[in-house]
Every structure is written in C-alpha cells, then in structure tokens.
Amino acid sequence: MADIFPGPDIFPAGMLPSLVEMMAKIIFIFTMNMGVFAPLLGWVERKQSALMQDRIGANRADILGFTVFGLLHTLTDAIKLLTKEDFIPEGADRPLHYLAPFIAVVPALIAFAVIPFGGQYDLWGHKTNLVIADLDVGVLFVFAVASISTYGSVIAGWASNNNWSLLGGVRVAAQMLSYEVAMGLALVGIFMVYGTLRLTDIGVAQENFLHWGIFLQPLGFILFITCALAENKRTPFDIPEAESELIAGYFTEYSGLKFAMFWMAEFLEMVTISGVLVALFFGGWQIPFVSGAALARLFGFLGPNLAQVAVMLVHVAVFWAKILLWIFILMLIRWTLPRFRYDQVMKLGWKIILPLSLINILVTGLVMLLVK
C-alpha cells in the first residue's frame, strides 16, 4: 500500500488536519471557480457589455418577481443547456466528439491549483499555506496544463466532420502552439527577478508595493497579457471561433451540455489567467503598503488566532477583488477590439512577441547585473 501513496513529505505525521485543510481548500476553490465564477461571468459578460453599449442587458428572468439585476439569466442558461438535445453529427467520430469538451474543461480547473490565494498563517498552532499544491515548478505547471486544453479544441474541430470546425481546429492548433512558446518566454523575466518559480514565494516577495511584478517587468506584463488573451481565444485573438467567419469554429457541432462545457472552459481559463496575472504582476493577496504583520497588529484585539483568521479573510478578499478587476478589463477588451486575421495572428506571435520577449530577458539580465 505504501508505494501507492506518494512520498511521506506530502503526508506528514498526523495526516488528519492537513487532509482536512487540503480538502477545505479544494472545495473552496472548486466552488469559487466552477460554482460562482463561471455562472457569474456569464452574467458579467451580458450586463457589462450591455452597459458599455448603452443597452440595458439581461433583466427578464425572475423568480417570484425578483429579477436580481438579471443574475437569474445564468440559471436559465444552465437549464437551457442541460435540457437541449445533445446532438452528435452523422459521420462524426463519436467517442472523440464526446471526449473533446472534457479535455477542454478539466485543465482550466486544474491550473488554478498552483495559484496562491492567500499567504501563510498559523491557526491554532497549525501552519497553513493558502494554495492547493505548493509546487516549486509553479508556473511551468500552469503552462503544461494549459497546453493540454489545446487538445480538447483540436479534437473537437477534427471530430465534428464539418468543414467549418475543421478550419477552426486547425486555427486553434496553430495559434495555441505559437503563443505558448511566447507566453513561456515572456515570464522568464519574472523568474529571473524573483529567482524562483514557486508562486507562493513570488507572492511573499511582492510584499512591498515597489516590488510588484508590473513595476519590475512592464514589457513582460504587456507580452504576457497578449499571449494570455491568445491562449484564452478571446478577441482580438478569437479567430478559432470567429463567429462571422467560421460560424462557431471548433464547437460548431456542439449543443447542450457539451457546448456548456466549452463555454465553461473559456470562462474558467479567463479566471485562471487573471489569477496568474494577479499572482505574478499585481502582488497576489498583498495589499499595497500594508504588510501581513501590520494587518495582524490591526486585528490584534481579536486575540492571536482570530486575528490570523481575519487577516486571511482580508487577503483572500483582496485576491478575488483583483481577479474581478482584471476580468472586467479583459471583458472590456473583448467587446471593443476587432478580430485579427489568421496570418496576422501568426505574424504577431512569431515575429513580434517572441523577439520582444527574448529582448526582455536580455534587458532584465543586464539590469540585474548592474544592480548587483
């Protein structure tokens, strides 16, 4: 039995408290992402785009007369997508067609395991670290998992036996490959500056405001955002599912629950990307100019343990607030910019962003040498 379980360091003596803590964190992240954020983003996308475009937006679905600003529309979406006929086109590769959405959704969720949504606190003598898996390869894990979701889209495009989805699938493959390379290189600057890949250490290093990633790596930030948008297939890089060209690209032949999966995958990826963005460039759970210790003294009157709980809650709240802010900005970009053409995306990816990220690495190296 022992060889099945991974090494002892994951399960120190007295497994029960750390197991409970692990499960609590997983449940918290799963409910926050899958339960709250995905449906919430459906509503945010509708309401925000409406207000941006001088419209009113969703306000009709109501229970007992309460429309709750249209929030119930996401409920109706869920009901609609669950009850719709789950249609597999004739001539399509049935198992692959069925499998593709799962390959697209699951990685988006897993990638969030590495992102710390809070610092280190000792509650009743038990040190907790608010991250599900505190891997020291941190960011590389995110890239690895993100590239798996590419397979989901490509298989969906190939298995649907439809010219449009085939074109969509080909475009997904080309775009994702070229931008994963660029995304990886864009973040090398951050690793050089903080000297580690472990996201929690980067979070701790960003305690003082001036050490936030965005100030140390502005060019890296711009490149990363562009590649993240391309990874997430959102405008202006949404050429795989360009409505006006390829009808709905690789998920043209999907309906019902499987379509909801692709839709969910897109939102989850957006949350994950905002998470990585906030964790690396905007100080994760840190509040500018207010360090964790200062907060603990502020809540001192509550007694040591409760103070730590209060600080933890504040940090988690700040983290999610930053993520919401970034989702708002990503949505703004989504609605205002026109879409690239296929070859322009490739040209931008290989000819502009890749060389720029290499230059960024060079410059960071030089600056760090001078500083040392």
Partner: protein
C-alpha cells in the same frame, strides 16, 4: 454651388506609438469604459428610486415602458365608428381597389333610411402591409391607420382576418390621427 471631389486622406500614417497594438487597446477600452461608468451610475440611480428618464441608456424596458409614437405612425388600419354608433364607411370599395396586396373585401348594402353601409367588411391582417393607401383613398375618412402595433400577431392566420366588428373603433380614440390627416396630409393648403 461650391463643393467638389475631395481626396480622402488614407495616408493615416501611424506614429510609432500607434504602430504598437497596445495604445489603441487602451484608447478603445477608455471609450467603452466612458460609456460604462455613466450608464452604470444612471442605471443604479434609476433602479433605486430614480425616474426612468434618469437613465441615459438608449433602450427602454418595453412591456413596462411604452415607446412614444409620432402622429404619423401607421399601425393597424381600423374603421371609424361615428359618435352615433354607426360606422362612417359607405362601402364605396375605393380602399378595396387601392390596396396593393388586395387584402380588403367588402359587400355593400343599404339601410332602410337609404344610407349605404358595408354588410361585411373583411380586412386580412396577415396580408396587410400597413402602407396607408386605404386611408388615402377613402373619401369619407372611414378607414384610418391607428397607432396600434401590439397583439397583431397570432399563431395562425385565421384570427388575423378581421371582420367588421374587429375593425370598428370609436371616433374618440382616433382624434389624434384624424386631425393629423386633416392638418398634415390631405388638407387644402397642401395643394
């Protein structure tokens, strides 16, 4: 008068600053946010007690708020019922002839006091294109384009064929349109 052919300046040379994609992402986002913030404020203000007119948004909450229709609006054609309860239509058949898609059919008759009236007056609402030619042709101002646009669609065509009873509307309700016709459309000073 002056004014001639003027070259359009396509040479919109992008400064290096604009050649980068990023600045005009910011400009686009700022314009969109410029609409978002005032709308967001005005919607929340209107929601919590403010009047709907506080909203600067273009669209309205349709069933609760109705759009303001201009006088010239051409809705469902209706027969005018005079104050004494009798329809003004004398079954002359001009509207039947003037209607381009031929959706009106009349069978005329005579009352005992010698005045003519339509025994049956059928207007097929499914075929009518709301062009207003019947109103223009009618010498008696008996058929008029009301400003009714709601409840005209049905799930099958039979109820859309209106008979005389479904078309008759008392004159008091149509004064706005009747006086518009006299003032703006077929009045003497228009010639």
């Amino acid at each position: 008068m002056s004014g001639a052919y003027k070259k359009v300046n396509r040479g919109v040379t992008l400064t290096l600053w604009e050649r980068l994609y990023f600045p005009e992402v910011i400009r686009g986002v700022l314009i969109a946010a410029g609409h978002f913030v005032p709308n967001f404020v005005s919607v929340t203000k209107a929601y919590f007690g403010g009047k709907p007119s506080d909203r600067k948004i273009m669209t309205i909450y349709y069933p609760e708020e109705k759009p303001v229709l201009p006088e010239a609006y051409r809705g469902k054609p209706v027969l005018v019922r005079a104050r004494d309860g009798r329809g003004k239509c004398v079954a002359c058949g001009l509207c039947e002839v003037a209607c381009p898609p031929k959706c009106i059919s009349i069978v005329g008759g005579q009352r005992e006091d010698g005045t003519r009236y339509p025994v049956t007056y059928v207007l097929n609402g499914a075929v009518c294109i709301f062009c207003g030619f019947c109103e223009e042709a009618c010498p008696e101002e008996a058929i008029v384009m009301s400003d009714r646009y709601e409840g005209l669609c049905e799930y099958d065509r039979k109820p859309m064929v209106y008979d005389k009873e479904a078309l008759l509307v008392p004159e008091e309700k149509l004064t706005r349109r009747l006086d518009y016709i006299r003032r703006r459309m077929y009045g003497k000073w228009n010639y």
